[in-house]
Symmetry: C2
Subunit: 445 residues, 2 copies
């Protein structure tokens, strides 16, 4: 590999057709907005129409311990699935957190540390974000407190061990430590509740700040290293792709991979590849949700954001892809979907993991269940005979993490006990019925 | 990284002070030697005094998917332990098998496949070798059958899932499939029993061959890529080391790392770094064993080899470092120990895993419990105030694998329930009392 770790992140914000809809104050509680101590640089990265952002030297140095991440052609996988086109894999699993989440964890820990914060508090679903933040806090000498979705922690206790090993304090959410957990009575979207607990806990802990791994414009900006590297690596291979695919929880690995291609095409006037978001059929916000103002967590005190959502109150069924178990898509990804730049495919977990099994056997890389959704979407575009969602020249797909701590899911696949749990139309309708739609007219996409 | 994957393995055999002692026919059963269908090239690699061996092109190509493996300076770890000297880490954990074992698995699968073998059968303790062989068989389109130590499989069920995911058939040993298991009555060294089961199963299965991951001269030869790369990488960093350290089960990662330094010093007349084998205090063959002829497995039909051993009949206590739970050291490593070229340090698992915890926090790389023994030995040489085992200029240490499937061990460490189980002097004495010593006079080392 002769390419370098990028020295700058690249933002898509200056190239949107329309500005992002403003956040709204929640109407459920009067003046209830939580004071969030967001470091100035992260606030600027969220809103400024600036294209290139220097990566601070200590973050670049930390990146160099695991970046550039590998990109390779999955030839044996192509052969096994009967692909028409080359499939290029960008692999983000080879770091202590086991996923792309470390890209933003390091940046955030750096900015918070510089702002004088001594403890970072967060919520995590699959545990990859929690692990990444624990690792980043360890590097910058900060305390780290993590609220992990209890059902997920129970299923993957070793995620908790790894975070503790990295020095973090780990709580199974719902806990008895917060009002939001007490008031929820154990109901609602469990990741947004874990996040809500973290928000509340941070707000009343001296020297602490809440931070979040996905969904914010700045976290997607930090992830742009994925796509920037991939573009260079593809050029090195003289490879061309007409589809770029990532799985979507809130959208940070998808955004990190895909938006540099969006931005480059907008900036240069070049051809834009199809940008394909692969979501879980158990949380089908992009394929079956609505574009509306919804809550990002269960506190009800954070701003309402314009997003594709299946409703923040919808009780998402348990699944092995905890990283995709989020009710909404990031506002930036949602806006691009709304503006017609993002396609979406929903994949069920049996199809996803079976695809992961084939990938493991052929490529000897074990993908996380979340990433298997992206691989299954790639397989669909690579083999489909007709229709819109079809790649003709080549596919770039992000394998966002490894599956070493998810082998229980693969065990169910091998034993034939894995099942799908897509929501019923009635349940979805009920969950979104109270939301305010985003005002601008929706385009078909 | 500008260095290339080596095109040749390098053998230490031409540079031994004395030839290796010949294997002996077991005396326990008349004419009982099992017919082993060893491919000609592996047989040649075991005995010929040839220094450089071309790596076959398909093996080189497979290597390139995960090699060169990274080498870096563990500066934050040095700081945390108060090291006097730079500590350089060669990390072999970033491949599907999670350890160095893939280096020889690929080579062996290639040679057996070329020889017309359609199924490889093996025994595995920690499961890293089994995973590596399953991956290699998958690549070369061969069947793979694995006998894994039952207590180890119970502790790490996901190792079994990963092997099955790679297409292998996995049995918990002792099984009811073999005579050797039935006759053992569940007694004895469990890894040698698993190996014994595999030997028997392969012998009576058409198109199948038994193969083994560690201990043979050819497997140590295949592992020489580790040390060859490391020497080049150190030169790139203009770094000098006077101690080279690896953990020892039978000795393949230690041999792979250290012997290229031995060979180069012998060939060039240069200074040889201290070669330090880090073993588990629960299997202290190099520090407390005898140099004698002993069995390599529980069948009693394989040749007796000259090795440092605590006795193949010694019932090794359960431990988290299943990869170190082997009664003897490879004959090549044993001979070099006997000739005074190899130092040894025994490390207990609490010390090892605590060192691994510090390493994880400071370097954000999670080492396997086995590898933690090497790190603990490195820490001792890097900080000891006096005595022979002391590094003055720099240390090279192999982290042979990752610990993602060993988090149960770290959990016990964090919870304070991890215990050591060193054998009593009386038990050791009883286990080795029937063995024939190797004839040449022992030197003090």
């Amino acid at each position: 590999m002769s390419i370098q770790v990028p020295a700058q992140w690249r933002s898509a914000l200056p190239y949107l057709d329309e500005r992002l809809p403003e956040d709204r104050t929640p109407q459920t509680r009067a003046g209830g907005s939580v004071q969030v101590n967001l470091p100035m640089e992260l606030a600027r990265q969220s809103i400024q129409q600036k294209e290139f952002w220097d990566i601070p030297a200590p973050v670049q140095e930390a990146y160099r311990s695991f970046r550039p991440t590998p990109l390779w052609r999955a030839s044996r996988f192509e052969q096994a699935i009967g692909s028409r086109v080359p499939i290029w894999v960008k692999y983000e699993g080879e770091n202590i957190s086991g996923s792309h989440k470390l890209n933003t964890a390091l940046a955030q820990a750096y900015y918070y540390h510089k702002a004088g914060v001594r403890e970072l508090v967060t919520g995590t679903g699959a545990g990859q974000w929690g692990t990444a933040l624990a690792a980043a806090c360890s590097l910058f000498g900060m305390r780290c407190t993590i609220f992990m979705v209890g059902t997920s922690l129970e299923r993957k206790p070793y995620r908790g061990v790894l975070m503790r090993l990295l020095g973090a304090e780990v709580h199974a959410s719902p806990t008895t430590l917060t009002d939001v957990a007490r008031q929820s009575g154990g109901q609602g979207n469990s990741l947004s509740l874990a996040i809500g607990e973290a928000v509340e806990y941070a707000a009343r802990t001296s020297g602490a700040a809440f931070c979040i791994g996905s969904g914010e414009n700045y976290s997607i900006l930090h992830q742009s290293v994925i796509g920037l590297e991939a573009a260079e690596q593809l050029a090195e291979h003289e490879a061309e792709v007409d589809a770029v695919i990532g799985c979507v929880g809130a959208g940070s690995n998808f955004g990190g991979l895909a938006l540099p291609f969006y931005t480059e095409a907008k900036a240069s006037g070049g051809t834009m590849p199809r940008l394909v978001a692969a979501e879980s059929s158990s949380t089908p916000k992009l394929t079956k949700g609505v574009y509306a103002y919804d809550k990002t967590d269960a506190t009800g005190t954070s701003p309402l954001e314009a997003m594709y959502t299946i409703g923040s109150d919808y009780s998402i069924p348990d699944s092995h892809s905890a990283g995709l178990r989020y009710h909404g898509a990031a506002k930036l990804i949602s806006a691009l979907r709304h503006q017609g730049y993002v396609d979406a495919v929903a994949v069920d977990q049996v199809t996803a993991l079976e695809c992961g099994r084939v990938f493991t056997q052929t490529q000897t890389v074990l993908p996380a269940p979340e990433s298997c959704h992206a691989l299954a979407a790639a397989a669909r575009l690579a083999t489909s005979g007709a229709g819109d969602l079809r790649a003709e020249r080549g596919i770039l797909v992000c394998v966002s993490g490894h599956g070493y701590l998810d082998l229980g899911a693969y065990q169910q696949l091998l034993d034939g006990t894995l099942r799908d749990q897509a929501p019923s139309p009635a349940a979805l309708l009920a969950a979104v019925s109270g939301l305010a739609p985003v005002d601008s007219p929706a385009r078909q996409s």
